[in-house]
Symmetry: C2
């Protein structure tokens, strides 16, 4: 059995999830929607992906641009078992009634509230909870990155208290109208940022306080973590634990991977499409232990880190695969994740 | 009695200290040195400041540029009671033998090691220790900012443990050859950054761990602080304590002062010369209490925060004034610091 997947919204996340779906042997990419006949739509068509207009009133624009489409979102919804909503934050929720009308399962992204799906997903943390569900929300890039490392450390050593400072990229590389250009923005000024409560939707037992700051860069987010543990952990034990996870890359600053720009240069040298880095990157030398109190610094590629989670969510919701380990192995192998 | 002050190095810090010295009734600015006949030297002369070449081999360049100087650094040293070394980091120490040869007291900046002076200074923390000293080091901008808030909180509530994340401006506004342009750099990757040990040179009883990250912005540094206290503190108590210090400005994000860019816009609207903000800026709404654990976010104007400390260091070393309170009051009044 192959699952037929549609993608509503072919932007930063949507085009990456589409590429990933194309690489799964148990999935078929039925098509994607676009609001505008822009270069992304044209490249999708050149790659043989079926493009649908986001709504009927968008058809004329595609026609005017000489770009043939296969119909509208509603036509796509008739063709699929599951839709991955990759529309902009807060827009996804407005589509929920339509997805329900066509009786398709739906995955929302982290820009939507938890309640839109009633279940917030991270593959290694709570895959089983998504089995057979009709609605799932894949948490945001920052929350996904934090879930991966917190889960790994919590499972091995127990986390009593977590404090995290997020230094956020201000905009994605292509978002040339967003800022800041020259400022550091507490985002928000108050404590906590929304990430702490969001993590607790996935890992309810983690006591965490988060603060976030937006800065003028486009490449990746940085997270500084301070963790009080339930038992002692040495630095080499932590490295050993984290390195077991294919979606975590512990990288040596000693080899020059010591900033977000260097992580991206590494991804480019690895030949990663679009220089994506879906793995959570942890700087090895940032891992510091004071017994039961540890520190680490990690980097999150905001454009791609949630892509494997979307693929796993599809498998769980459609019961293509009933264990996290097996789904994640399939996803990671297909996407070439893990290894050094 | 007026103290005759010379300034070696008329760059980011030097020109600000020079302006501040000119505003003190108990000090005379004998002159400043420049290595090059650039626009800063020309503006200094236009303001009536005596300019000296940094060394004899620089005289020809000034002559070629048609810019008259009053001699060299050694000539200046014959004229002064105290020299404020504002040369680039690590360069200051190389001048120490010359300052000693001319028997002038010397103030170094935070780019030098503690040992160059044997005493690291922050006005509110340890003014008395600088009384009559021949050599003093004014700690760096980041350390100065941290000393101000840590001292205030420690005095009122006692600090058991401090954790700080510094989000550093990558370069000063005029440093157009420095980066990063598009990266977040752990600086360093390991724990701690040099700031923690540096603070302990001023406040030896503070248990603090610091991490630092450089980002692509020029305006200010941001510090995130997490403090374990010896007794409970409410948010309003903390605001009340911090607001008592003229060199700390507690600003309301609710009025739109919610990023480094907005702090600078505020300084510009206040009519501050060069948009300087020598006060430590603390965002009121960032002050969060969980009883004995508190959080706050502060902004540090790297170009100007050490200027009042340099003025106070001059007074302490030359015994112009024997109490911190009196010296700081004179400095703050002359520079227009404090208030809202």
């Amino acid at each position: 059995m192959k699952v037929r997947v549609g993608i509503n919204g072919y932007g930063t996340i949507g085009k990456r999830v589409a590429d990933a779906v194309l690489m799964q042997r148990d999935m078929i990419l039925a098509g994607v929607t676009k609001t505008k006949p822009n270069f992304e739509a044209r490249v999708a068509k050149q790659k043989g992906i079926r493009v649908y207009a986001a709504s009927a009133d968008r058809l004329q624009a595609f026609s005017d641009a000489g770009m043939e489409v296969h119909g509208t979102l509603e036509d796509l919804l008739r063709e699929v078992d599951i839709i991955v909503d990759c529309t902009p934050g807060k827009v996804g929720a407005t589509y929920k009634p339509l997805y329900e009308k066509y009786k398709v399962k739906a995955i929302f992204q982290g820009g939507e509230k938890h309640d839109v799906a009633g279940f917030s997903f991270n593959a290694v943390c709570n895959y089983d909870g998504a089995l057979g569900r009709d609605l799932v929300r894949v948490v945001s890039c920052n929350t996904t990155g934090l879930c991966r490392s917190l889960y790994a450390v919590d499972k091995a050593f127990g986390i009593r208290k977590a404090r995290a400072v997020l230094i956020r990229r201000g905009a994605d590389p292509s978002e040339d109208k967003k800022g800041p250009i020259n400022s550091i923005l507490p985002d928000p000024v108050g404590i906590p940022s929304h990430h702490g409560p969001d993590i607790q939707k996935v890992l309810p037992n983690i006591d965490i306080t988060t603060s976030a700051f937006a800065v003028p860069t486009t490449l990746m987010h940085i997270h500084w973590l301070n963790l009080d543990l339930q038992k002692d952990a040495t630095e080499s034990e932590i490295v050993s634990i984290l390195s077991k996870y294919a979606r975590i890359k512990v990288v040596p600053a000693s080899e020059g991977i010591d900033s977000t720009a260097q992580v991206i240069e590494y991804a480019r040298d690895l030949g990663r499409r679009r220089y994506d880095m879906p793995e959570l990157v942890i700087f090895k030398e940032s891992i510091k232990s004071f017994g039961r109190e540890i520190y680490l610094t990690q980097a999150v590629h905001q454009e791609s880190i949630v892509v494997p989670e979307n693929i796993d969510a599809i498998r769980a919701m459609t019961n293509l695969c009933n264990t996290a380990e097996e789904s994640m192995r399939m996803t990671d192998e297909s996407l070439g994740l893990g290894g050094t």
